[in-house]
């Protein structure tokens, strides 16, 4: 039985690169349940995509970011892996920060929940493989990033 889609779930992603062509990744683990993705926020009602992303980087990493330019928005249908009734819309921005020195390799998320291991790390775009990313849309974005070089 195929469940009818009833809602959109809008996710806003920030592609943050440093001077060494390293990109910031977010990894969460609880038991065997883990995923690696680009840093993102879930868009809340009454919020703009820009504010959503700035809020997320502030909450999780404690840094201010600037949105440089829009990079990609999903142009195909993607059902949520977690919720049957939701269609995912993912919006990616290239972002920049003047506080990159505050983002240490392997740092823990500032707002992590108890029992959940949530870390950030840098990886060179060239060395990042699609299979390291959990979600299909992130993999597609990695492909576009690689082509863009």
């Amino acid at each position: 039985m195929i469940t009818e889609i009833k809602r959109f779930n809008v996710r806003v992603y920030g592609l943050l690169l440093n001077d060494n062509r390293e990109i910031l990744l977010s990894t969460e683990r609880r038991g065997d349940f883990h995923f690696t993705k680009f840093p993102r926020g879930g868009l809340e009602l009454g919020e703009g995509t820009k504010d959503c992303l700035m809020r997320e980087f502030k909450e999780e990493l404690g840094i201010e970011i600037e949105l440089k330019k829009h990079f990609y928005t999903t142009d195909f249908f993607q059902r949520s892996a977690f919720r049957n009734e939701e269609q995912i819309i993912s919006i990616y921005y290239l972002v920049h920060s003047k506080q990159l020195n505050k983002v240490k390799n392997g740092m823990e998320a500032l707002d992590r929940e108890e029992g959940n291991k949530h870390h950030f790390y840098w990886k060179r775009v060239e060395d990042l493989e699609q299979k390291e990313l959990t979600f299909p849309i992130d993999r597609l974005v990695l492909e576009k990033l690689t082509q863009n070089q």
Partner: protein, 146 residues
């Protein structure tokens, strides 16, 4: 409902840990059947978690080393709590049984099944322990809530 399942799995985790601790203390007197029953219940939890999140599965009849069981139960418990935070309970999971037949059940049905499965096999472990003259601990849910 998610809070309910977190509580239920917290109960199973604490109770399993209590049983494993007792088994470690009485290891020399234990029958193979007791180790099999414990292994099987932990394997089943691991397999159902893996069916939901799409990770690697152990074999349902694998025999686990007793000294690894506390850790395995902890990882299983953490995995279930982690997936509860992300998946909706009505999501349908497609899976194959050990004979290769395909089935589909909701995450809620799966979690309820794991819970019943633990209670069933802990009952068998308790009986097997009494046969070896070892007093099993009180494992009723309502004792855990008191």
């Amino acid at each position: 409902m998610k809070t309910f399942f977190k509580d239920i799995f917290d109960y199973h985790h604490q109770t399993n840990q209590k049983i494993i601790q007792l088994l470690l203390e009485t290891e020399e007197q234990l029958s193979e059947r007791i180790i099999y029953l414990l292994s099987h219940s932990l394997n089943a939890h691991q397999i159902w978690n893996a069916r939901i999140i799409g990770s690697e599965k152990v074999g349902v009849h694998d025999i686990q080393q007793l000294r690894n069981c506390a850790k395995m139960d902890e990882v299983n418990y953490d995995t279930t709590v982690g997936l509860l935070d992300h998946y909706e309970l009505s999501k349908m999971i497609k899976y194959k049984n050990s004979k290769g037949e395909e089935f589909e059940n909701s995450i809620q049905q799966v979690l309820f099944h794991i819970s019943n499965h633990f209670s069933h096999h802990r009952g068998q472990i308790a009986t097997a322990l009494r046969e070896q003259n070892i007093q099993p601990p009180a494992t009723d849910y309502i004792f855990y809530k008191r």
